[in-house]
Structure formats: structure tokens, C-alpha cells
Symmetry: none
Subunit: 224 residues, 2 copies
């Protein structure tokens, strides 16, 4: 099994009531390059808002209701349901109606689960091109080369990753939580000073006031 790209590991929220399965999945998914937080389903909804995971994996046999409540909050987050052993097509259709993205019966093969997770994520986050441009900023991912108006800029790792994220949608305003999660990973919520610090340095290195702060919200690369 190939490890996920280092660039950005996907964050998976795992709602699985049974201890053994949960820790099994936590361990193996982590090995396969996912950042996993396992919870019992009671905690799932609450964590959803805090963590903003890339995907939710619901292992609860009663997961249907959770799926619905989750969708109610109007999150775009993809959901994969692990069914109960006796699922029939009707159950599955109902699950899809509730907005889930895939449904896998138990007992399942771990590799198939991973394949399905990847298939869903592939869809949600379409592949980024090797060459990114944002205004006068050019980023060449294979070589990690960044140029601003032709001038070469060398960036340390975190600043480079932060730039990548911001450049993925240059006009868009990213919230601090979002940036912290995607660049620093799941469990970094609240460390705004760290983000601020890097944003500040990135701004200085790029020059030209590219990195702009949106008060009380976060940052964007090309405001206005």
C-alpha cells in the first residue's frame, strides 16, 4: 500500500462505537497516511465542526441517523457508511438518500475500504495541477520553486505549504481553523499565533502585500 502524498494528508473522522474495530481502523488508516480521529458516534457531530475533516467514516450500525444529522448541518464533507452485516438494498438506497457517498457492507476487506475512501476523496479534491499560478506568483510543485514577478523566492516548508493552500483558491478567504487544519494538521486548532507568525513571514518574503488578513476571519492570497 502506497503512502499518501506527503503534501497533504487527509483528515478522517471515524465514528465507530466498537472499541476493537475503532482502534484497528485508527491504527491502520494512520499507517496508510490518513490522519484519523476515532470517536464514538455521540461525539461525532460536535467534533465535526471543530475538526472539519476531509471525510467522515461512520461505522455505527445505526449510522443512518447520524448521517442525516450530519448532512443537516449542511456540510459538504463526504461520508462513507459501514453497514451492518444484514444490510439489504433498501437500507443502502436509504443511506444514499440521506446523502452518504458510499456504503460498504461488513464484513469488509480493509483494502477495499481504503480504495473506496481514496475514490471518494479523489472526487472531492480534484488533483491539483503541478503548476499553480496566482496573480504574479508562480509555483512549480515538482521542484518546489516559487517565483514572484520572475523573482525567485525560497520558502521553508511550512510557509511553502501555507502558500500552496492559499494559492489553491487565491481569491478565497480561508479561515484560520481551515489553514491550521490543512497545513498543521488536525489537532492544531487554536494555535493561531503559530499561523499568524508564518503568515507574517510568508507575506514579508513574497513582498507586495500578497498575503492579506481578513479581520476576525483568516487570510487570503489575492484580496481585491
Amino acid at each position: 500500500m502506497v503512502a499518501a502524498s506527503v503534501e497533504c494528508m487527509s483528515a478522517v473522522l471515524l465514528a465507530e462505537p466498537e472499541e476493537a474495530t475503532r482502534s484497528f481502523l485508527e491504527r491502520h488508516l494512520a499507517q496508510d497516511g490518513f490522519e484519523v480521529v476515532g470517536v464514538t458516534d455521540g461525539e461525532a457531530l460536535e467534533l465535526l465542526e471543530r475538526l472539519c475533516p476531509d471525510l467522515v467514516l461512520i461505522g455505527d450500525p445505526e449510522g443512518l441517523e447520524l448521517c442525516r444529522r450530519l448532512r443537516e448541518r449542511d456540510r459538504e464533507v463526504p461520508v462513507i457508511l459501514l453497514g451492518s452485516q444484514e444490510s439489504d438494498p433498501v437500507d443502502r438506497v436509504r443511506a444514499f438518500d440521506r446523502g452518504c457517498d458510499d456504503y460498504l457492507d461488513r464484513p469488509f476487506h480493509y483494502d477495499e475500504l481504503v480504495a473506496r475512501i481514496r475514490a471518494v476523496l479523489r472526487r472531492v479534491a480534484p488533483p491539483e495541477s503541478e503548476q499553480m499560478t496566482a496573480g504574479e506568483i508562480e509555483i512549480d510543485r515538482p521542484t518546489r520553486r516559487v517565483t514572484v514577478v520572475g523573482r525567485r523566492v525560497v520558502l521553508p516548508t511550512k510557509e511553502y505549504e501555507l502558500l500552496l493552500k492559499l494559492a489553491s483558491d487565491p481569491q478565497r478567504v480561508f479561515t484560520k481553523d481551515e489553514l491550521l487544519r490543512d497545513v498543521w494538521g488536525f489537532r492544531s486548532a487554536g494555535r493561531t499565533r503559530t499561523l499568524d507568525s508564518h503568515a507574517s513571514r510568508l507575506r514579508r518574503r513574497l513582498g507586495g502585500g500578497y498575503v492579506r488578513n481578513v479581520w476576525g476571519v483568516g487570510y487570503c492570497l489575492l484580496g481585491d
Copy 2:
């Protein structure tokens, strides 16, 4: 079975060698609001470029190879494979590796197939318009950009949130309590001065008397 969204019926390219299954699916999918073109797998690649379908359904038991060739042409088109009866997890993992989006074993339930088709299309299609419009006011949520008759308006956080709320139903009159609760949060009931103040400034910044007061009740964005 709910009919497909009226907005735009999805075009499905169906590559299924077996005559009976093909016509069955053609007929039923058409009834369920899809635009279906059924072909044998030889023709699929060629038609792919001409038709640009929204989704490809591969019924061929040898569909793996087709899926690969299809992906080679680097189309973003989603693909669902209908497996052969004897598929095992290894086959399925291989299929996902080839880039397919879902895999359904035969014999399958038609309703489940439709549910899965919808789930995949849901993912692919809607980068839902994050665009709101209220009269001549346009709001782009990702960039937090607000324009009035083309003129760009910059808003501080609270005013922006207030505008969002008002624009969510521009004609409607929102009571002050409602606005306070939704923008300032639960425990803010009674602080009408604060709301007044922000409404006043929002009105001034938007110009054109958009934010209108309804005496003794609250505010609305487009009165009359």
C-alpha cells in the same frame, strides 16, 4: 422513486455488451430522468469524446481495461463499474486503483444502482453556487466579496454577517430578536442599540436605502 432534479438531466454513457441488460437499463434510467446512450464497449471510447457524458456506466465484465483506457484520456468523467458475479475484494481494489468511482456487484438492485449514480453525480456536479443575490446586491461567500450594482463594497465582519442573514430571504422582515440571536448569538437579546448601529452603518455602506426598517418590528433588505 424521486425524479431527478429538474435543473439538468444527467447524460449517462452505458457500456454494456449484453443486449437484455442494456435495454433494461436504458429504459429504466431514462424513466428516472437520465439521458442514456447505450453502447457495446467497443464504441464507448469513441463516443466518450463526442458525447461528453456526465457519467460512464461500465457493465462489461471486462470493464477494468476499458476503465483504464478511459482514464488515460484524462477525462474527469466519473465511472461506475458493474462487476462480474464472482468479483472479490482484490478485483474491486484494482478497479478503484484504475480510477473508477464506484463498484457494484451483480446481481444488483436497480434502485441501489440509481442511488449510487446519484451519490457520485452529487459529488462531481455541484460546486454549489456560493453566490447569493438580492436585487442588485451580490455576495460571493468564498471571497466575502460584496458588490452593489457592480460597485465593490467592503464590510466589517458583523455587518457582513448581518447582510448574509438579511439576504438569505431578502423580502422577509426579520425581527430584531431574530437578527440579534442569529448574528450576535443567544445571549444578546435586548441589545437593540448594537443592532441599530450596525444596521445603520450597513445601510450607509450599501447605499440606495437597501436596509429598511419596519417600525416596531425589525429590518429587511428589500422592502417593497
